[in-house]
């Protein structure tokens, strides 16, 4: 019962009868077992932890980081890093809020109230544009990913602050007579008891998993992350792949921004500060290599749930926020330590 499908197929294809030792099994599925351990420990410590309603609440918290982490995984598989996702999340929320308040067109003397679907699409487009800026800077202008996305981090955050003058858009519920209600649907509604945000996360995870495992693009991404020169000489359009991953990461951040501002029914310009670090942590805990070419969606999802369930668990049993930070850091370092042991063995 190993965790990632890649390992399953590997074992099956080898056709070897020998069983993996317990240590190996624990090691391969370390993110999965860490998650189980977290759930067991907190369930023993608090009766409120192991309940359906608590799991759903925790999952809707995870949805935000999870969406960012999926985009981050694509970028990290490519051998890059995207520090701008937290700011993009914040900017997306602010732009959505701005559109919901109505767009004044002074020349025509009218105020446009775009419907929620238009707002969602425009916000996703914004995320794509921010990602495209990252991608072009990195792929064509050869700016190191770390620096390019660090710059965009500041620019996006600055624009969000400028747009709101530092204030927050409240009351994003819309009004029936203007025909723009429904923004809170993403954050509050449930389908079969499951919060929409969680469903969005699962949908993104499934699509991304298929993208990585069943399409030529996925293969291009793994190849160019593993060895860009070899990929290029094999005919992989490495620059287009690079731009695509940053665009997808930007879209993921925009969707996360929509879900978050919908959950809060308000959009603040400082939302999502330092979330990029949590997203990177989730990807790393999920077993991806920061050097590129290795990592899976399932691993990343486990990583996101490990971080989310751990910090919510600490809140439930009443551990101070300061200790939560210390625990999260320890988990990240341990994960990277295990990764380096794993990749060194090859």
């Amino acid at each position: 019962m190993s965790v990632t499908p890649a390992i399953d197929t590997k074992a099956a294809a080898n056709g070897s009868k020998r069983k993996k030792s317990l240590v190996e099994l624990l090691f391969e599925g370390r993110a999965f077992f860490a998650l189980i351990a977290i759930v067991v420990v907190f369930s023993l410590m608090s009766p409120n932890y192991f309940t359906v309603s608590n799991f759903l609440i925790m999952a809707s918290h995870v949805a935000i980081f999870g969406l960012l982490a999926i985009g981050m995984l694509l970028v990290i598989l490519n051998g890059g890093i995207d520090l701008s996702v937290g700011s993009t999340l914040g900017l997306a929320g602010v732009v959505a809020g701005f559109l919901m308040q109505g767009v004044v067109l002074p020349q025509l003397g009218v105020i446009l109230y775009p419907s929620v679907w238009v707002v969602v699409i425009l916000t996703c487009l914004l995320g794509a544009v921010v990602g495209a800026v990252n991608g072009v800077l990195i792929a064509y202008l050869r700016v190191p990913a770390f620096v390019a996305t660090l710059g965009v981090l500041y620019v996006a955050r600055g624009i969000a602050l400028l747009m709101t003058n530092g204030l927050t858009y409240n009351n994003l519920g819309g009004r029936p007579e203007l025909g723009n209600t429904g923004f809170d649907w993403l954050g509050f509604n449930r389908l079969g008891g499951v919060p929409i945000g969680v469903i969005v996360l699962l949908a993104f995870a499934v699509v991304c998993h298929i993208l990585l495992t069943r399409t030529a693009f996925g293969r291009w991404l793994y190849a160019s992350g593993g060895n860009e020169r070899a990929a290029e000489l094999s005919g992989v359009p490495v620059r287009r792949v690079k731009i695509a991953v940053y665009v997808l990461s930007g879209i993921c951040a925009a969707v996360a921004g929509l879900v978050l501002s919908s959950q809060l029914t308000s959009a603040g310009p400082t939302a999502g500060t330092t979330y990029e670090l949590t997203a990177i942590a989730a990807v790393v805990i999920g077993g991806a290599a920061l050097t590129g070419g290795r990592g899976t969606v399932i691993g990343t999802m486990l990583g996101a749930f490990v971080i989310g369930f751990l910090s919510d668990g600490l809140v439930i049993i009443g551990v101070s926020a300061y200790w939560q930070t210390v625990f999260t850091g320890a988990v990240i370092v341990t994960a990277v330590l295990l990764n380096s042991i794993k990749y060194a063995r090859r």
Binding site: A216, R219, Y222, G225, R229, A230, L233, S234, G235
Partner: protein, 513 residues
């Protein structure tokens, strides 16, 4: 050092390898080599790529440990745990790729890692004084405070030598020291070498420029395929002797395939000129024209820097030519992207398989299928079953020894890794295949297999162009042998050419500069 020279008799054996063997997994890089280094004399190691020269040098200088056998220093068996231990005993190595920090100055490079310390920090004044002394000794006018990146390559080499001397090295190993030097720099280097030997320093010299090495050496040792095939003193040998022992007389890499009609011209290169990718103002390929027919095998021979790699990379779409054209079956493909060239049937197997050929993070199968993803993608999705067929097919056709497509790339031997790179490109069903040094770093058996495979595919109508820097590989399966020198074709031969003729045309057998 002068004291050493006086007390010890010149010519006695200072360092010796006794029955030294080294294996990397199943690859036997060295198979029991005996080798002497004489005090105050130059010993040159001759051998083709992959003959084991570098491995032997790494063992002598403590970089790697031998699997069996021993190293004898001054009559006493020793084992170096690291290169710094070897350095402490007076053995230094200057690698082909210089190991200087270009951003730091000459003084800091020479004392890197063993700075002269006082109570208040590094004694820069003393370091500078010693550096000046060293430079005077070497008769080089290099200021100790010059950043290394501002020095010419030849001067950088001198700095490396100065660094080796500054630790009182009495045995200096030089791996291809002249490959990047100009003629006048080579003269300076040789003068330095003569001075050093007069002072009792022993030199081990490795070079592909045979004639040049013969000028300086006292002893010649020839390695082939991990064993020492010949030893002689300078006065007893000539160029022909070296080539004969280097290449071997009996080894057969096949002959040009025959018994079929070659097709029309598949690849035609017209007046191709490529500027130096590094930005220097000369052309690495200079107005070169060549045409290759379907079913024909063409070998391009040339020394390092002759422009072979740049020629192939330009034809395959990686570099852009400044003028000239490339036509594939009469269709102009000049300046087309790599992906476009692959689609049209023009593929390149790059020289450095680790850097340019393989994706180490992916399995054997995924590497093999990487260039032909389109062949098993239907609509949006790849088909696992079709990919499995393609991979299985490639493994069979190219004879890759592997546990299957799911094996890790790192589990394969060098020869089999090379076959993966070739198999990946053959899986695209090309019309023309370009191979840049396909035999580099693989053992002789794998070489023969690769050549046999290419001959078979040529019979089926594939046009094959391969480069090599080993003369023996020219006279094998190639129908035509092209010799390149400084970006141009300097000679063209049929398969009945001799090794000496090829070497003369490349500028190797005459003085190279």
């Amino acid at each position: 050092m002068s004291a050493l020279a006086e007390t010890a008799q010149k010519g006695e054996v200072v360092l010796a390898a006794r029955n030294v063997a080294k294996s990397y997994g199943n690859v036997h890089a060295l198979k029991g080599v005996n080798f002497d280094i004489h005090r105050g004399q130059v010993t040159t190691l001759f051998g083709e790529n992959g003959a084991g020269k570098s491995t032997l040098m790494k063992i002598l200088s403590g970089v790697v440990q031998p699997t069996s056998g021993e190293i004898v220093l001054d009559g006493e068996a020793i084992a170096f745990a690291s290169s710094s231990q070897a350095r402490d005993r007076g053995i230094s190595i200057i690698h082909q790729e210089l190991s200087l920090a270009p951003n730091m100055n000459v003084r800091d490079n020479i004392f890197m890692g063993r700075e002269i310390m006082t109570a208040t920090g590094v004694d820069f004044a003393e370091e500078e004084r010693q550096t000046r002394l060293l430079m005077e000794e070497l008769e080089e006018d290099i200021d100790p405070l010059t950043p290394v990146e501002d020095l010419r390559l030849g001067q950088q080499q001198i700095v490396e030598i100065a660094r080796a001397l500054s630790v009182n090295s009495r045995i200096l190993i030089m791996d291809e020291p002249t490959s990047a030097l100009s003629a006048s720099e080579v003269d300076v280097l040789f003068k330095v070498i003569r001075d050093l030997t007069n002072r009792g320093v022993s030199i081990v010299y490795i070079s592909h420029h045979l004639e040049e090495a013969l000028q300086i050496t006292n002893h010649a040792v020839v390695l082939r395929d991990g064993t020492m095939t010949a030893y002689a003193e300078r006065k007893d040998i000539d160029l022909e002797w070296i080539v004969r022992h280097m290449v071997g007389e009996n080894f057969d890499l096949g002959s040009p395939p025959s018994g079929y009609d070659k097709g029309d011209v598949a690849l035609s290169i017209e007046g191709l000129t490529v500027p130096d990718p590094g930005g220097a103002d000369y052309s690495v390929v200079d107005g070169l024209s060549l045409s290759v027919r379907a079913g024909e095998i063409v070998c391009i021979y040339g020394l390092m820097g002759a422009g072979r790699t740049e020629l192939l990379e330009t034809v395959a779409g990686r570099l852009k030519p400044s003028s000239g054209s490339v036509k594939l079956k009469g269709r102009d493909v000049t300046g087309q992207s790599i992906a476009g060239c692959i689609r049209d049937g023009l593929v390149l197997v790059p020289e450095d398989r680790q850097r340019d050929g393989l994706v180490q993070t992916m399995t054997v199968g995924r590497n093999l299928s990487l260039a032909s993803l389109g062949a098993f993608t239907r609509g949006l999705f790849t088909s696992a079953a079709r990919e499995l067929d393609l991979v299985g097919d490639a493994i069979r056709k190219v004879h890759i020894k592997t546990d299957g497509g799911d094996a890790a790339i790192g589990s394969l031997s060098g020869g089999n890794q090379q076959k993966v790179v070739i198999g990946k490109m053959l899986a695209t069903n090309p019309e023309v295949i370009l191979l840049d040094e396909p035999s580099r770093g693989i053992d002789i058996g794998a070489k023969a297999e690769v050549f046999k495979l290419l001959a078979e595919r040529a019979k089926q109508g594939l046009a094959v162009v391969y480069t090599t820097s080993e003369v023996g590989e020219c006279i094998s399966i190639a129908h035509r042998i092209i010799v390149m020198r400084r970006g141009r074709i300097s000679a063209e031969f049929g398969p009945d050419v001799t090794k000496e003729q090829i070497m003369a045309a490349s500028g190797e057998a005459v003085h190279a500069h």
